[in-house]
Every structure is written in structure tokens, then in C-alpha cells.
Symmetry: C2
Subunit: 269 residues, 2 copies
């Protein structure tokens, strides 16, 4: 059940500049990805500054594992990954999903060892960067340092959003928001957002969202019934999302206090 690291890090697959995302997708640069740097730019500068080790991974491969000595940060050039933590008493929790442009391994900096597993859910390409080398490069390259800090900052913000969802949203809204966030992430990573493939089981999604697999299944069925998503003819893991805003609207509609319709007070004047 637990593949260990298949092969040691290969030498740089090729010294070429950042490769395109694997998925053949309409590369739609709808507005700049971030105010600062696009993913392609980031990958480019990293490639130039620290010549990362590139590694191809397949579904099930571990990028790093809990307790393993920290030495590298990782950037994802392609693929789809999950971050899993395991508590001392055996609880397992998917605490994050990662794709092209995302960083892995920040949690290892403070403790000197990774505090979670990073697992590929699909074939992809990971770039490994020795943390020490990166620091050296950052000293002479303020722009690179900014990129690093922005990545950490974004991760902190994103994790807060996750906590907020889990704490405040009912099941259906949580699933809807999950899909919207995933679609948006796919879009900013250069993949299409209207036709997405969940590469996770209902159980994994449920674990990530703090729900059971049955609840996730039911929520997806309701989303489909309300036409805010559609199942692909093939497989229940491929979804069509006609309209992201409709997803949000549906999530909102889950949250109306249901009853006790308190008289709408129209402020006169």
C-alpha cells in the first residue's frame, strides 16, 4: 500500500527551461496569475538560479515522508499531489492538495524533518532544491527570496481558508467550495477548469473536508441534480463545471438559515 521512493533522484532530466504542463489544455492566461510572478516565471527563475534536480513520479510515489531528514524543498512542475499527516495515535488526515507551481516541504524547515507525507496522485515532475543552496542563491537574488516568501505566505493564507471552510460550511457547501477552489487552482496552474478530473476517491475527498465518503457522494449527487456540476459519461471522477459562480451560489444557498424567515427589514430612507 505504501510505495517507497521508487528511484533515487535522477540527474536533471534536461537542462531546458520549464516544461509545459503535461495535460494538454488550452493555456489560457486569464489575467495574471499573481500580482507578482506567474508560475512560468517562477519556475524559470528557479531553474536558472539553482538548477533543481528534476524527477518524474507516478501515482503513489512519495516525494517526502514524515520524519525524513529535511534537506530539500520541492516545486511541482506538473502532476497532482496530496499532503497527508499521520497523528501518533493513528489518525490520518489529508491536509493539502498541490499542483504545478506549488511548493512542498516548508514544514521541514523548523524541525529539520518533514512533518507529513507528500504523495503523487498521478504522474508528474517534481523539482528538488537543496534548501541550503536556495538560501545561498536568495542572498544574492532578492527576487528569488521574494518568490520563496510569497510561496510560504500563500500557503499560510490558503491553509486558513481551509480551516474556515471546515469550521463554518455545511457539507454540501464544503464540497462545492472544494470544487471551486480546485478548479481555480487548476486554472492558475495552466489547466482547464471546466472539465476537471478528481484524482482522488470519495474517501480521500471526505477526509480532506472532514466528511465521510457517503456524505461526499451525496453532496456530489445533489450538485449534479442542481446542474452546477455534471458527471462525465465516463467515470464518476471526471466532472464538468459549467460555471464557477454557480458553484459559489449553490454553496451560498446551502447556508441560508433555512427557516425562521425573519421579516426582511427594509430600512426606510
Amino acid at each position: 500500500m505504501s510505495n517507497t521512493i521508487a528511484a533515487p533522484w535522477a540527474a536533471p532530466i534536461s537542462p531546458r527551461a520549464p516544461s509545459a504542463p503535461t495535460a494538454s489544455a488550452p493555456y489560457c492566461p486569464t489575467r495574471g496569475h499573481r500580482e507578482g510572478h506567474s508560475i512560468a516565471e517562477i519556475l524559470g527563475s528557479l531553474s536558472a538560479a539553482v538548477s533543481p534536480q528534476r524527477r518524474l513520479v507516478r501515482a503513489g510515489d512519495f516525494i517526502h515522508q514524515t520524519g525524513q531528514h529535511f534537506e530539500h524543498l520541492y516545486i511541482l512542475n506538473s502532476g497532482f499531489f496530496k499532503i497527508v499527516t499521520l497523528s501518533p495515535d493513528g489518525r490520518e488526515q489529508v491536509v493539502g492538495l498541490k499542483l504545478r507551481g506549488d511548493w512542498l516541504g516548508f514544514d521541514g524547515i523548523a524541525q529539520g524533518a518533514y512533518a507529513c507525507d507528500a504523495v503523487a496522485m498521478d504522474t508528474g515532475e517534481v523539482w528538488a532544491i537543496r534548501y541550503e543552496s536556495l538560501l545561498v542563491a536568495c542572498i544574492g537574488n532578492r527576487r528569488l527570496l521574494a518568490v520563496l516568501h510569497e510561496a510560504m505566505s500563500r500557503q499560510i493564507s490558503h491553509q486558513r481558508d481551509s480551516l474556515m471552510s471546515v469550521c463554518t460550511l455545511p457539507a454540501d457547501a464544503r464540497v462545492a467550495e472544494f470544487l471551486r477552489t480546485l478548479a481555480e487552482s487548476l486554472a492558475t496552474s495552466g489547466q482547464r477548469a471546466d472539465e476537471i478530473s478528481l484524482r482522488m476517491t470519495r474517501a480521500e475527498i471526505g477526509n480532506y473536508l472532514g466528511l465521510t465518503l457517503e456524505t461526499v457522494s451525496r453532496a456530489l449527487s445533489r450538485l449534479a441534480k442542481h446542474k452546477v456540476i455534471g458527471f462525465a459519461p465516463t467515470g464518476r471522477r471526471d466532472l464538468h463545471i459549467p460555471n464557477l459562480d454557480a458553484l459559489s451560489a449553490f454553496a451560498q444557498s446551502c447556508m441560508v438559515p433555512t427557516r425562521k424567515l425573519q421579516p426582511i427589514v427594509v430600512k426606510s430612507d
Copy 2:
């Protein structure tokens, strides 16, 4: 209900080295705080390297607010603070608690604006550091850069732990773990951990843990009934925690699969 920033940043209160925590407490250096740097060391090097602006705050004061232009990171020298996010549709969520040695404002780096409110829950002293100045200082001071990255890294790890608790623990265990974590944090910040004062209402605790105030109240009552905590004679917000391990043990006991006592398989040999 919402105090705005009371006074602008004062000039450095005094150029002295890091002051001791306000709470008069037995300063017990039970084993080094972190493998790398103690809080006192960190505050010391920061004080020396970037001479932060010191500001005294009182309960209700904001350190920074959502949407405000990002310019400073903050380090807490004393006090107790909460991090609150507000969603576009009005949901409010306590996403973090901070005390001496913790940093605030990392979320602002990527977006150029803070993504949350940071609110003092009692009097304290906050140090403000211009992010740009800090970066400059870090360029020439690898140790300082390490301190910064460790703080961000720790925050990422800690947030994951929070998500894990909310997603996997039943209410009583969640409250127990909350108390244990809080006590540990107080200890590493130099305060006593056996006699703690929750400076939050049941509603705030519940919000932070994804529970209602009633559920928190009941959980605390059960913890008291089981003697793993005790209420101070004065007020229900001051707790006595005789034994941290007992708290964990109680949390564990909440999680037994309800019985359906599956035969305990004793692995022979």
C-alpha cells in the same frame, strides 16, 4: 465593538533588550524551547538587527486588519492575541491564537495586504518590523533569515495540526487537545502551564474549534468531572491543569470506537 487602532506606533519604548513576559510566572526553562533558538534569543537578535517599533496594546486593539496595506511583520513580546478571518459572505472564524514569540502578518507578504485581523485579547507588547528592512537585514545575516523561515515553517505545521484536530477529533477530545496545546504554548513562551487563564469566551473557543459555545461548556464540565482540569474558585475562565498527559489520555479515551468491542487480538509472540 470594534476598536480601531488606538494610537499610532510609538517610538521605541526603550532601547533595552527583550523585556520579560508581563505575567509574573516561574520562568522554567524545561528543556530548550526549540532545537534552534529560544524565544529570548530570537527577540534579542531581532531587537539588535532591526530595532523594531514597540507598541503597547490593550484588549480589543487591532494589530492589523483585513485589507490593510502590508508593510510590517509583527512579533509578540507579551500578551495574548487572536487571528480572525472574515469571509465575503460574513462568516467569521478564529483561525489562530498567538502569544509571546509568535509572528503576525505572514499572510500579507504574498498579497500585499493582510488577509485577516489580529486582535489583542489582553494587554501586551508588540514589535513591528518593516518587512523590507527585515529582508535587508536578513541578506547580511543568515541566522536572522533562518529565524524568519523557521517561524513561517512552524506556523504552517501548526495550522496543519489545527486542521487535523478539527477534522478528526470529537468535541471533547478537541477541547482537551486545545487546552493541552495552549498550555504547552504558554510553557514555551515562559509562562506557567498548570494554572492558565483562558482569555476567550466559550463562544470564541467554540468558533476556533468548530463547535458551539454550549458544546465547549459541556466539554469543559466533563473534563472537570473527570478531574483532568479544575476550575479556579474565582471565575470559570481560570483553569487548573494538574497533568498534561492526563489531558491527552482523556482525549484518547474519547476516541475509542464506541465499543462494538472487537476482540482484542493479542499477537502471539
